[in-house]
Symmetry: C2
Subunit: 338 residues, 2 copies
DNA sequence: ATTGACATCCGAAACGTTTTGGATTATGGT
DNA sequence: ACCATAATCCAAAACGTTTCGGATGTCAAT
């Protein structure tokens, strides 16, 4: 048998109103009766019906995240973000509603559904695009959200990692090691972080007086396979690079595969570096030099910001920019001797 | 402005009932008016209020999963399961409600809340315990659920991997390689799969006529650090093992750390093997021999079963047992020469 | 005795949907 | 002309909660 406010009210000989207010802790109910009601509720194992509560109060205590099916799920990076968000949501007593979706049209409609059907109080979104329809939509309907990443329009709360500085330091590190022919494997241009990471690459080369060679700039799809394929192309160049920087660890690991397949040794014949510091990065052979994004903490802080947005509190910092940490491991090799 | 059935009804000059039934596809509404209603709904961007729908129809189209905070989140294994479940849920048009919880009392109450507050139609649970209060609870209240793993009481739908056979083959492989002093790092006894995996170990040794030595049986907590610590103890034995089998990959990787720290080489001086085949396993140095659990597919199949349970359809197979695959990599080394 | 203030309680409406059990009209058969 | 049937529509109740606007009773101050 379902136990509702009505059940308790009958049991206590009181009205539903009083029971509701007693349990909610209003001060217009006698302390004794309040205790009695609470005792009864406890005894009967009362759990409020959240659908009813949501319907009435328009608050769901639920955070929504849409997970694009291709590649992201099973993307350790995305999962780590999810962990952070989930962890912090629990802290606030919020739950997480996940909707797995095919990217593209489907994805946007998932947001529409979530928002318009009032299932959630706020949204965390990741993998921001340069021109992101999801952000446009959420801004338009004025639904609370926080993004992990900056896009073109920056008039929304976000938290991001300073990819430019990260790659700048990474490439600087390689230049210090004596590299001058440094290639970069970019992520798809439509992703917002691609440009900033590329900017770091350019700045580092520029300051070192190294011209940028178009042949060393390639683009792939963030997957290991993709990284392997384009690295192959780089190795086939007449004058192949001595170092390869990838926009994420997965592609860097793919590049390492390609290099090994050529009979070369990563870290000795050619340096490789990634971005993210996924757990696997510490265990590749050789371990991968990379730029660490504190992604778990980013998830937690994103949620902090979102809670503020939901409560319509002014954010103390609507734009958080974290400086990532350079993690030097063996894949960037010993100083190059020429 | 919120657009509800009422909005559409007014716009169309019809009743709320008719609009509802038209959109739901009942056949007692004229095809022309149905089309007209659908058009209006489309134009106004109508999205049903799910709280209201759930309240009335007692169906949420949502699957619940509780994620114990310690160790599981950021556990690649668990995340992979989540992916599979999420993926398949999307296939059925279901969403996933995650509730991160401290394990223990809190955790059980999370289930209580989810179930009694009627937020979800079904539950997927993982990491089954030998004597699992969550299962007892869900059975008692007759709430649809599917577990990944068998516990003592088996009168509930589950999907599991035949850990006994997996470890049996793994240990058999090591015996073939010439090992006779084979240690095992067990997971906590309260986890249901510990016993079955241990059973495989015992059977393999028994068939090979190798006595079981208590000193080679140690227990740890599924973490890399834990595996490292107990492996240390094994290496300090007067007659240390020549092979170490761990109940999961994380502990095996920890054991590899301990071995390296002793100045020994994994795969040459001592063999190591794990269980799970997490993504990292392929990239350790040397790559880890392990038993693969098709965990993503397990998630998908678990969800298939759950949907059946929710629809109160009889399950064609209430108990699914998958045979895991042995993945031989370099950590189990070359044949031992004595 | 009247008033005001306060403490404590409650009826009824509202949230947006689904569903029950007709009501109304049109159609065809006698 | 009448009835049975089918097609199409709808009013109202229900789901369980929160909240608005009192209602009632008590007690001290006038």
């Amino acid at each position: 048998m379902k136990v509702t406010l009505k059940t308790i009210a009958q049991e206590a000989g009181l009205s539903i109103t009083t029971v509701s207010r007693a349990l909610a802790g209003y001060d217009d109910v006698n302390e004794d009766t309040r205790r009695r009601i609470v005792a009864i509720a406890e005894r009967l194992g009362y759990q409020p019906n959240l659908a009813a509560r949501h319907l009435r109060s328009k608050q769901t205590h639920t955070i929504g995240m849409v997970i694009p099916l291709t590649s992201y799920f099973s993307d350790p990076f995305f999962m780590e973000l999810l962990s952070g968000v989930g962890r912090q949501a629990a802290e606030y007593g919020y739950d997480l509603l996940l909707s797995a979706q095919q990217p593209g049209e489907e994805e946007l409609s998932a947001y529409r559904r979530m928002v318009a059907s009032s299932r959630i109080d706020g949204v965390v979104l990741a993998r921001v695009l340069v021109d992101d329809p999801r952000i446009a939509f959420l801004k338009e309907v004025r639904h609370p959200f926080v993004a992990f990443g900056r896009s073109n329009a920056n008039d929304y709360p976000y938290i991001d990692v300073d990819g430019a500085t990260g790659v700048y330091r990474l490439v600087g590190h390689l230049i210090e090691r004596g590299h001058r022919r440094i290639a970069m494997i970019l992520s798809p241009r439509k992703l917002a972080f691609t440009a900033t990471r590329f900017e770091g690459y350019q700045r580092a080369l520029h300051e070192a007086g190294i011209p940028i060679a178009q042949q060393y700039i390639v683009e792939s799809d963030l997957t290991q396979e993709g990284g392997c394929t384009v690295a192959q192309r780089l190795l086939d160049l007449a004058s192949p690079p001595t170092a390869i920087v990838a926009c994420n660890d997965a592609m860097a690991i793919g590049a390492m595969q390609a290099i090994r397949a050529c009979g070369l040794t990563v870290g000795r014949d050619i340096a490789v570096a990634g971005f993210d510091d996924i757990p696997t990065a510490a265990f590749t052979d050789p371990p991968l030099t990379t730029v660490r994004q504190p992604i778990y903490d980013i998830g937690r802080r994103a949620l902090d910001m979102l809670i503020c947005a939901i409560r319509r509190q002014p954010l103390d910092e609507a734009h958080v920019l974290l400086v990532p940490e350079l993690i030097v491991r063996q894949s960037s090799g010993a100083p190059l001797i020429r």
